[in-house]
């Protein structure tokens, strides 16, 4: 089966979810683009958007239309060439409208899992539940005579577990998009012990067509992205605990969040990132990873405790941040959750006191001036030199944090999760928008 034949019949499971809808969009566009090639004239391309909720599927169709419009507007120069023989389509807006129809026309929203029984390949983006994934994969596999391939978006479950559990014989690969899939350039590709070469080859071709940056990771729970992120969280929580001799828990969370953003020149602080991903999601990823990590406890009682109090984070459907460990107003952090009193404490109550304790911060470049800057080393090297010599409490914590992040990165390589240092850095640079990779020599 060629690349194009494989993509003629596809299903996305969990298509109305945050990740699933993005995967659906990208795949629909790729399939429609194939269908519009002159050689494919007359061939049908079918993409089942499968989810449990009709309501959510209706929402995802609206999302698709809005996103395809944006995509079409961006590539209208190319679309005019594609529709050159359609003499009835003259203005850009006519061409754009036709393209939206042609992409939408590939998609079949349904709540019936049976639709996947005809598909050549299945993208899976349902919840991170190993048993549920195994059950669905084996059900489809048993009822689908085409021996379909499974592309799972799991960010933490070993692929071999799914492969063997569902009896797929290597017809599976980890294809881990970052959130949101339509925008994030990074894809982690993870082979199970048995993944067939042709599945891997297809995965790379598909990623290339989507213009994604591929980082291969070994099949060890958490892979590279969450392998770093979860340990980064645990370290941050540890730092919070260390500060408790001298500060309240809200103050310590504020301090570590600030250091991990401003001092580390990251796009957001660690606790804001947890809120962005969702406290529940982070806690769950740890829960999934933990059984697979030997000699190491990937588990945060603090996160579980917060979750138990209903502190969840995550985003509203318009993409704005929900309150979590931190409270937000127009995207700005205004308060920190206090688990002792189960209430938010305004940052204004303690900000100046904590900032004073942390001491004078060495002048740091803003993340947005560094990221994407070709001469970023010219900004970062002098900054880290200043950080090295600064004697304040904040600078000390920051230095340890940078070193720990590097240690985590190195550990991912030495434990065989990542193939090399560069892959670890690519994941953090591309998937987490860091301004520099964790494995660096800035503090050596």
């Amino acid at each position: 089966m060629t690349y194009e034949e494989r993509l003629q019949h596809v299903s996305v499971l969990g298509a109305a979810g945050k990740m699933g809808s993005g995967i659906l969009l990208l795949t629909a566009v790729e399939m429609a683009d194939l269908s519009l090639k002159p050689v494919n004239k007359g061939k049908t391309f079918v993409l089942n958007a499968i989810d449990v909720s009709d309501e959510a599927l209706s929402g995802v169709m609206r999302y698709l239309k809005a996103q395809i419009l944006k995509i079409a507007e961006k590539k209208v120069i190319g679309l005019r060439a594609i529709y050159a023989d359609r003499r009835d389509l003259v203005d850009n807006d006519e061409i754009i409208a036709q393209y939206i129809f042609d992409v939408m026309n590939v998609v079949r929203p349904t709540t019936r899992l049976e639709a996947a029984y005809d598909s050549n390949m299945i993208f899976e983006a349902i919840k991170e539940d190993s048993a549920l994934k195994v059950k669905i994969f084996s059900q489809i596999s048993q009822n689908n005579p085409k021996q379909p391939w499974f592309f799972t978006n799991t960010s933490s479950i070993p692929i071999t577990v799914l492969d063997e559990g569902a009896g797929l014989g290597g017809r599976i690969i980890g294809f881990h998009f970052y959130n949101p899939p339509a925008i994030q350039k990074l894809v982690e590709v993870i082979r199970s012990k048995h993944t067939l070469d042709e599945v891997n080859e297809f995965a790379l071709a598909y990623a290339k067509a989507l213009r994604k940056v591929v980082v291969p990771a070994n099949d060890i729970a958490g892979f590279i992205g969450n392998g770093h992120f979860m340990r980064d969280i645990l370290y941050a929580v540890e730092e919070v605990h260390k500060l408790l001799n001298d500060m309240s828990v809200t103050e310590a969370i504020y301090a570590v969040n600030k250091i991990s953003q401003d001092y580390l020149v990251r796009p957001m602080g660690i606790f804001q990132l947890i809120d962005y991903v969702g406290v529940d999601v982070c806690s769950f990823i740890m829960f999934v990873m933990n059984p697979f990590t030997k000699d190491e406890e990937i588990h945060s009682p603090l996160l579980d405790k917060l979750l138990g109090m209903g502190v969840k984070g995550g985003q509203y459907s318009d993409g704005s941040q929900k309150d979590g460990i931190l409270k937000y107003e127009k995207g700005k952090i205004v308060a920190v959750y206090d688990p002792l009193n189960q209430a938010y404490v305004p940052v204004s109550q303690f900000q100046s006191k904590v900032d004073e304790k942390l001491g004078t911060m060495p002048a740091a470049p803003a993340w947005k001036t560094v990221v994407g800057n070709k001469a970023k080393d010219d900004l970062l090297k002098p900054y880290f030199a200043r950080l090295t010599t600064a004697s304040s409490l904040g600078a000390g914590i920051a230095r340890d944090y940078v070193k720990k992040s590097k240690e985590i990165g190195k550990h991912l390589v030495s434990s065989g999760v990542a193939f090399n240092d560069a892959d670890v850095n690519t994941v953090l640079l591309t998937g987490f928008f860091h301004a520099y990779g964790p494995i660096n020599e800035y503090l050596d």
Binding site: V76, G78, V90, D93
Partner: protein, 412 residues
């Protein structure tokens, strides 16, 4: 030289801000004034200077494509909205694509010449930010021959001028020509920074020529031009009054406040045919030559010009069409600084279409307002030197790809 049967003056110019990307106060997401607001502001701006609506005999409004940008036609009927005093007065809407403003002026001039009016209120406007640039391209495409649209570029007009730029590169050399474009861009922005109503008034790019020398990207936009080679999408209106001597008297305006129209050239070329020479604006050359001949002067007697630089390449070719440089020598002439505000022949002293903005149907009127301000020493920070022995200003307003042209010569 021809003699007009009576003297015709232009006076009481007014420009709104040219609004669009580049202006600090502009946001595509925020609600913005509508076309009626622009028309009203410009119209009232001129009426205030001429003693009110009761002094007006006739009205002309120029607009290219409000029918699509704003879903609005029948624009002549907006004059009573500007001022109740204009109710029941004769009003006309004219259209000639980006040359609309020039045609509006010509209508006013002819009414005064025909003695059907002593005072004509002329407005030109376009409000284009109602849609994204990619749809703006659709709405502006009818300035060319509709039969060519299907096979044209997504950005149809930029595509046409990119082709012209390509032809010019091939014939006269790419490197020098692109340097000429870059200098043209620099002049436009430097001038716009001196004019508070200019769209590029807030432009802060440090090295303008370096920015303009970035290579074009055919996949993202055009083969031979970058975004900086193009005028932007603008909302704006300009107004001016055209009067006889009697009209000036009626309004109590001393003749020294007005510029006199001493020549014009109005020329049309076949829209269904490709340009005879892609490297030259032959129709503009004809219009300018007619206007200068009409006025009985040569280009050497002109102090400053407002010319239709919808694209840098059009600006370069216009320099040649005006007779300032030989065919093929436009880039060198511009690179040498001749057209800069302190040069031998300052052009587009408030930024032109690239710097001030290009509200398509308003551009011709804006040119006349700028000449009026410069010749009367009222251009504020943008004022250039007008030598006593060169008391003339020239404008050349172009509709479409060198199709509908108006050139006008005015005297201080």
């Amino acid at each position: 030289m021809k003699k007009l049967r009576r003297k015709v003056y232009m006076v009481a110019g007014y420009n709104t801000i040219s609004m669009g990307s580049g202006r600090k106060e502009f946001s595509p997401k925020r609600e913005r004034p509508g076309l009626e607001d622009y028309i009203k502001e410009a119209g009232q701006g001129t009426l205030k200077q001429i003693g009110g609506a009761q002094n007006v005999d006739e009205c002309v409004i120029g607009n290219f494509m409000a029918s699509r940008f704003n879903r609005q036609a029948n624009l002549a009927a907006f004059f009573p909205f500007i001022d109740e005093g204009l109710r029941y007065k004769p009003a006309t809407r004219v259209e000639g694509a980006c040359g609309t403003g020039g045609l509006a002026l010509m209508n006013g001039i002819k009414s005064v010449l025909a003695e059907t009016a002593e005072v004509v209120l002329v407005i030109g406007f376009e409000v284009q930010n109602t849609v994204k640039a990619i749809y703006c391209a659709d709405f502006l495409a009818p300035a060319g021959w509709a039969a060519n649209r299907k096979d044209g570029h997504a950005y149809f007009f930029p595509g046409q001028f990119s082709e012209r730029a390509g032809a010019y590169f091939e014939k006269f050399g790419r490197e020098t020509t692109r340097k000429g474009f870059a200098r043209w861009y620099r002049n436009a922005i430097e001038n716009a920074r001196l004019c508070p109503t200019a769209q590029e008034y807030h432009n802060t790019i440090k090295d303008l020529e370096a920015a303009a020398m970035v290579e074009p990207n055919a996949k993202a936009f055009l083969e031979n031009l970058t975004a900086l080679d193009c005028s932007k999408v603008s909302d704006g209106a300009s107004a001016i009054a055209i009067m006889s001597e009697e009209g000036l008297k009626r309004c109590g305006i001393p003749v020294t406040d007005a510029v006199e129209v001493v020549g014009y050239g109005q020329v049309a070329e076949d829209i269904t045919k490709p340009p005879p020479d892609k490297t030259a604006l032959t129709t503009m050359r004809q219009a300018v030559s007619n206007a200068l001949e009409f006025a009985g002067i040569n280009i050497g007697q002109v102090a400053t010009a407002e010319i239709h630089d919808c694209f840098t390449v059009a600006g370069i070719m216009a320099v040649e069409a005006l007779g300032l440089a030989e065919h093929g020598k436009g880039p060198e002439y511009v690179i040498a600084g001749n057209t800069a505000r302190d040069g031998k022949f300052p052009i587009n002293t408030t930024g032109g279409l690239i710097g001030w903005g290009h509200p398509t149907g308003g551009t011709g009127v804006h040119m006349a307002v700028t000449l009026l301000e410069q010749l009367k020493g009222k251009a504020g920070a943008a004022q250039v030197n007008i030598p006593d022995d060169r008391p003339y200003g020239l404008m050349a307003n172009m509709g479409g790809d060198d199709k509908t042209l108006v050139a006008i010569v005015v005297r201080k």
